[in-house]
């Protein structure tokens, strides 16, 4: 199993660590900061998070271009492209539900996990609910590569 070897797991650890540091440095861990970014129609809009997304996008775009020159990543036999390809109602409906949740609390899944570092009051409620919601969603969208491929046809 390629995904139990040390370089593979070390890569996952490095990526997770960079991600956590980035969420903190960019202040995306602060739900209030996120909500002030989303509060565009209100006065005193804080556009900072557009810079977070822009910078992340540029770096990842370069990485994707580098990846296209290779047939496989360094520590696995193939790139794992997403199984779903079409824009459908589930994509739009799911994104809309997520948008409501994000707008209510200012916490998307990355910051939800990184906030564990600070153990804020009530965070566990959000995390348990998020996990339950994800489980409930597996009725609509299956987990696992083979099932997803079959579902996407």
């Amino acid at each position: 199993m390629a995904n139990l070897k040390l370089p593979y797991l070390a890569t996952a650890a490095l990526s997770g660590a960079l991600f956590g540091a980035g969420l903190y440095v960019s202040q995306m861990v602060d739900p209030l900061k996120v909500l002030r970014f989303l509060a565009i129609p209100a006065g005193g809009w804080d556009p900072s998070l557009a810079f977070v997304m822009g910078a992340a996008l540029i770096v990842m775009f370069i990485a994707v271009q580098l990846g296209k020159r290779r047939s496989a990543p360094l520590f696995d036999v193939a790139f794992h492209e997403p199984e779903y390809r079409k824009v459908d109602r589930r994509l739009v409906g799911g994104a809309a539900l997520f948008g409501i949740g994000w707008g209510m609390a200012g916490i998307c899944p990355g910051p939800a996990i990184s906030l564990i570092a600070f153990l804020p009051d009530n965070l566990w409620i959000f995390l348990v609910a998020m996990f339950a919601g994800s489980l409930a969603g597996s009725v609509v969208i299956p987990s696992g590569h083979a099932r997803r491929l079959a579902d996407a046809q």
Binding site: L18, A55, V92, L97, A112
Partner: protein
């Protein structure tokens, strides 16, 4: 606009981009947090690296907060969640439970969140991710305007 922090936002964004780049070029995986989090239970055989990733993410947040105290929440302690808007009369725990439920359900059905669609998908020039990102950003902006939570 004293809360505008373009330098740390760009630096933090570059770190997040580097994180997604490392996972893609190293392991060929999309660093979408909702996907990594949402497939922690069987039938996925890939639970170990997901756990390693998430533990490292929390540990690095903790370490960054020790190294640069005050940065993460602009001077305040970052250990606070947003309270439910008073006008709605909904207790904050219930508000957070509904928000969490919608976040988990929506990212599962929509197959991604801010990182999976908003960073990785857009960088891969995926039409699905462009549509998803525009929808969840637009709906979140409307939601904040309607709830008046800030």
């Amino acid at each position: 606009m004293e809360s505008f922090t373009p330098l740390t936002a760009t630096l933090g964004g570059a770190l997040i981009g580097l994180a997604t780049a490392v996972l893609w070029l190293g392991n060929g995986r999309i660093a979408g947090i909702s996907g990594i989090f949402g497939q922690l239970l069987p039938p996925a055989q890939t639970v170990v690296w997901r756990l390693v990733f998430l533990v490292a993410l929390v540990a690095a947040t903790f370490a960054a907060a020790r190294l640069f105290p005050g940065l993460g929440a602009g001077g305040d302690s970052p250990a606070r969640l947003v309270e439910a808007p008073a006008a709605w009369g909904v207790p904050t725990p219930v508000w957070l439970a509904v928000a969490g439920l919608l976040t988990g359900l929506g990212t599962k059905i929509g197959n991604g969140c801010t990182s999976g669609h908003g960073v990785c998908g857009l960088a891969r020039l995926s039409l699905r991710s462009l549509v998803a990102t525009l929808v969840f950003l637009g709906v979140a902006v409307i939601t904040v305007a309607v709830t008046g939570v800030v």
